[in-house]
Amino acid sequence: MGSVDEAVRLHNAVVLLGSFPALAEASLVVKKGEIVLISGANGAGKTTLLRLCAGLVPLARGEASVLGFNLATQRKEAQAHVGMLGHANGLYLDLTAQENLKFWGAVVGASSREIALSAQRMGLHERLLNTPVAKMSAGQRRRTALAILVIRRASLWLLDEPHAGLDASGRDEIDNILREAASVGATVIVASHELERAGALATRRIEVVGGAIVERGAQ
């Protein structure tokens, strides 16, 4: 399903949340190495589109493949290559940032050096690393979650409002990380309301309108 240079291929994909079609016959092709910005009103289906690509919601009808894996039959295989940062950060609040990173390092097989480098990259210095996540600010939690995403070494990055809660330097650092990931072949899909910032980062923009995808062209 799909050609080898495609990271995502949706054809008339339908996702139902209860009986409501959150995605209604959505079609999309994303090439490897692209940075795609998804815009759209609240409730239009941006998050559902990301969750479908992450294999977190089932496909009701149509076809969907990610990195060549059919999401209807090979969801687990696809997920091993996908990293997602949603509205929540996926952190353990009682653990320190360092312990969260070490846990994910153990789960995905990252070395201590990779963990240290990703922490350094996201500006997680020693004092912050030893702070319980529950006591961190929203921006510090976001940085920790992004450091985890870096050690996942995903081929497809799915980010839902990644700039939320970050200060200017944190936002710049995210943009740099995403550009770098794309430059080495990763594909990045970002859902954002901050069109100016995310638009500058993206190579292409699409809009989700009432569960359908509308092409807005190259940036």
């Binding site: 949603g86 929540a88 097989g109």
Partner: protein, 232 residues
């Protein structure tokens, strides 16, 4: 190295270590669950204020207190996953569901074992039960095997209910009937260990064998079913 090449046992170890570290730091077991179980046992003693009856029903009371308290422990172990949506992060990472299940089960079993040690001590004092050396060996064996059954079922149904609406009320409805055979077998074996209701030590060991079968079945079935049941 990719996630696919990480062994199930390595993932189980990481999950169990993480859960126990969180418990050690938050002290929910010590500060909330143990006092709850202690109050339940004291209330049983007040309600059945007769030494003869108390001694006779002590094994059942201990295991009922364990089961009710295990609901809180199971809910807690999955609440830490849903607090910041870490369970979704684990799913997206394509982490082996068998590893998650085994890790959760081991962490639950360790917590339950420590918890039972305190409850059994309390029952010896509150309900004035005598325990011989042979009875102590039987009781330790029963506790370990019953824990395997409760922990594996707890991990399975806790994971199933974690993403469901009304999970606080759903878990008891799912878990308590499933672990009823463990309650029966553990209570009968503990009667033999305590030497109450005319039960002898020898009568307790067949129940231990039954607990071992339950533990193996629940562990094996849970390892296979966890991924499928928690997928959506």
């Amino acid at each position: 190295m990719t996630q696919n090449s990480i062994s199930t046992m390595s993932i189980a170890r990481a999950i169990a270590t993480k859960d126990l570290r969180i418990e050690w730091r938050s002290k929910v077991l010590v500060n909330q669950v143990l006092p709850f179980a202690g109050i339940v046992m004291v209330l049983f003693a007040f309600a059945l204020d007769n030494d003869g009856i108390l001694q006779r029903v002590a094994p059942g009371l201990v295991w009922l207190a364990v089961l009710f308290s295990s609901l809180i422990i199971v809910q807690r172990t999955f609440a830490i996953e849903s607090a910041d949506n870490a369970l979704d992060a684990i799913k997206v990472a394509g982490v082996s569901s068998a590893g998650v299940f085994l890790g959760k089960s081991v962490a639950l079993a360790v917590q339950l074992l420590l918890f039972e040690c305190v409850l059994v001590m309390l029952s010896l004092v509150l309900y004035q039960v005598q325990l011989s050396w042979g009875g102590a060996v039987l009781l330790v064996t029963v506790s370990v095997l019953a824990n395997v059954g409760i922990a594996t079922m707890g991990a399975l149904y806790g994971g199933l209910g974690a993403a469901a609406k009304g999970r606080e009320t759903l878990l008891p409805l799912l878990l308590l009937p499933a672990v009823a055979p463990v309650l029966i077998a553990a209570t009968r074996a503990t009667e033999s260990a305590f030497g109450v209701s005319g039960a002898t030590l020898g009568e307790g060991w067949p129940w231990v064998a039954l607990l071992a079968v339950f533990g193996a079945l629940f562990g094996f079935g849970g390892t296979l079913a966890f991924g499928v049941l928690t997928e959506e």
